[in-house]
């Protein structure tokens, strides 16, 4: 789409919404209007990968990165997710310094990790720790797809395993926000073994009678779907996100036909019986807190975690 088309589309949309437009007219829009013909930085707009609608990034971000048109719940950074989920100042991180080695000596793997660590403000693709959510203490894990598609290697496997071991010992619930492209191929067979390791930790945790809630976010696929993401006592998905085992392209290549849009969506999984519920981002905290309450966890003062 050319710049002219984009601007026209945006303008049309605002003309359509004339009654509410004044409040919606963002600085970005005005700036774009006044500088017609000048190159607009792309990061002013969000183009929804599901419905292809373009909207102002500012509006999109105010809406917690949910597409106002189709309700697609877009990807968040770990920090955004944490801020939307944990009570203010309640989070304390586990294993903050853990870093992967290079088990198969994959060329330039260390450099790639180093660059991503800076860009994503994290050492590997998952952040774990404990926090309160509306006053309920929980062990929490957040995967961030900006970090090598949140693929699972040694660090992701180890941190998640330790999170479950900690929660087992301290009789706490675990909430994992999953997102992943699957196993981290650059770590070879070691990455595959993390599927067994994490699933084993969940088996012990589950035997100890504690609650595990998975929140499937965009995209949850491959080895993560085939291990801890599918093992929650309660499995929640965000609307319109992609969830599956095999990649779309792999399946398309196998069956030689185009797949319907809703294939491997949260709604597709709900219909097939693989998620308990679909929950919107704005209601997620309240749902998580209610579910913890109904599993007999006690509410403590918000923001307090005793280490």
């Amino acid at each position: 789409m050319g710049l002219e088309d984009l601007l026209k589309k945006v303008k049309d949309r605002f003309d359509d919404e004339a009654e509410v437009a004044p409040a919606l007219r963002s600085a970005a829009y005005n700036k774009a209007e006044s500088e017609k013909g000048v190159k607009i930085p792309e990061d002013l707009f969000f183009k929804c990968p599901r419905c292809l609608t373009t909207s102002y990034k500012e509006d999109f971000e105010k809406n917690r990165k949910v597409c106002a048109n189709c309700n697609y719940h877009a990807r968040l950074t770990w920090r955004e997710r944490l801020n939307l989920t944990a009570d203010r100042n309640s989070f304390s991180e586990f294993d903050a310094n853990m870093e992967s080695q290079n088990p198969i000596d994959y060329p330039e793997y260390a450099d790639k990790l180093q660059k991503l660590r800076k860009a994503c403000d994290m050492r590997d693709a998952v952040i774990t720790g404990e926090c309160t959510i509306r006053g309920y203490k929980a062990v929490i894990g957040i995967m961030d797809s900006n970090f090598m598609m949140a693929s699972m290697g040694s660090v992701v496997g180890e941190k998640i395993t330790r999170a479950f071991e900690y929660a087992t010992k301290n009789k706490m619930p675990v909430i994992l926000f999953t997102a992943s492209g699957g196993a981290r191929m650059q770590e070879g067979i070691i990455s595959l073994m993390q599927m067994a390791k994490t699933s084993g930790a969940i088996a012990k945790f589950s035997d100890a009678g504690q609650l595990y809630i998975t929140v499937l976010t965009d995209p949850t696929t491959g080895g993560v779907t085939a291990s801890f993401a599918s093992l929650g006592d309660v499995i929640i998905a965000e609307p319109k996100v992609l969830i599956g085992f095999a990649g779309r392209r792999v399946i398309q290549d196998t069956i030689k036909q185009k797949l319907p849009d809703e294939f491997q969506s949260a709604e597709f999984l709900l219909e097939n019986g693989f998620v308990d519920l679909i929950c919107e981002r704005r209601r997620m905290r309240s749902y998580l807190a209610r579910i913890m309450r109904m599993h007999n966890y006690e509410k403590i003062e918000e923001g307090r975690v005793n280490k």
Partner: protein
């Protein structure tokens, strides 16, 4: 044991007459009785399950079935299981637990099947469930990779007390072809990937993923199927004796630790 490259082994395990589970089972076990179905959806011929005796001891066998010809491959889907295959395996493993039989998994698959129906019926969930349930199965579990151990589809039958590999077998997070295709956007660099990925039985022994390498006759298993079967038998005899002597609590603790300790990181 002669050192041959990963690429040569890749060719060896694709030799048309490389023995499959259907060759080995009658040579290793007696009186195999096949048991079908997952009790939920259907029966998946990609995974063969049943009971047999091994030196007059009842055992449960779960095996991925590579076809020996086009007909058989059509039936067994080239050993690429659907969710109902993994669920059948879990059902029979639970049956084995109830009756205190060791479970012997014979792994030989390119991977779990990737298709619309597999997704609809929860391929990811089926594999995940097996990983979790096998970890706490209160009976010995021994897995042997016969040829190809492909990804999560292999791992779903390889959460075990001991993993053995035939000398030329490969076990990997993804096929070398898939690796080259995804990381280098060039599936033709398959051989280069095979050499890089560290997927041979010796590599996996070094990583602590595999506990035992079962030797093959010179030139590969197909040169003497009986000898290969004898080697497998000999290993199984030892392993079963050893594991059946271990009490259930220690068995499960060791099984957990076997996987728990795998990971390469600094902190």
């Amino acid at each position: 044991m002669s050192r041959i490259s990963a690429t040569e082994r890749l060719a060896l395990i694709r030799v048309k007459n490389r023995p499959t589970v259907n060759d080995y089972i009658p040579l290793i076990f007696d009186g195999f009785i096949e048991m079908h179905g997952d009790r939920h959806y259907g029966d998946d011929a990609a995974i063969l399950g049943g009971i047999a005796t091994f030196y007059s001891m009842p055992v449960t066998i779960l095996a991925q079935v590579k076809g020996r010809d086009v007909e058989e491959n059509k039936r067994t889907n080239f050993a690429m299981p659907h969710p109902e295959g993994y669920r059948k395996a879990l059902r029979l493993a639970k049956q084995a637990e109830k009756f205190n039989r060791p479970v012997i998994c014979l792994v030989d698959t390119p991977g779990a099947f990737c298709g619309i129906e597999a997704e609809e019926r929860g391929q990811g969930e089926a594999i995940a469930r097996n990983l979790m349930e096998f970890m706490t199965l209160k009976t010995p579990v021994i897995s042997i990779v016969l040829g190809e151990g492909g990804s999560g589809g292999a791992l779903a039958l390889a959460v075990c007390d001991e993993l053995a590999m035939l000398e030329n077998a490969l076990y990997s997070v993804i096929s070398p072809r898939g690796f080259a295709s995804i990381l280098w956007k060039d599936p033709s660099r398959e051989k280069e990937a095979a050499e890089l990925m560290k997927i041979t039985s010796e590599d996996l022994l070094n990583f602590g993923v595999c506990e035992k390498i079962i030797s093959e006759p010179a030139g590969g298993a197909h040169n003497d199927c009986q000898l290969t079967a004898d080697n497998i038998s000999e290993y199984l005899f030892d392993a079963i004796k050893r594991l059946c002597r271990t009490d259930a609590e220690t068995l499960l603790k060791n099984r957990y630790q076997k996987f728990r300790k795998i990971g390469m990181f600094t902190e």
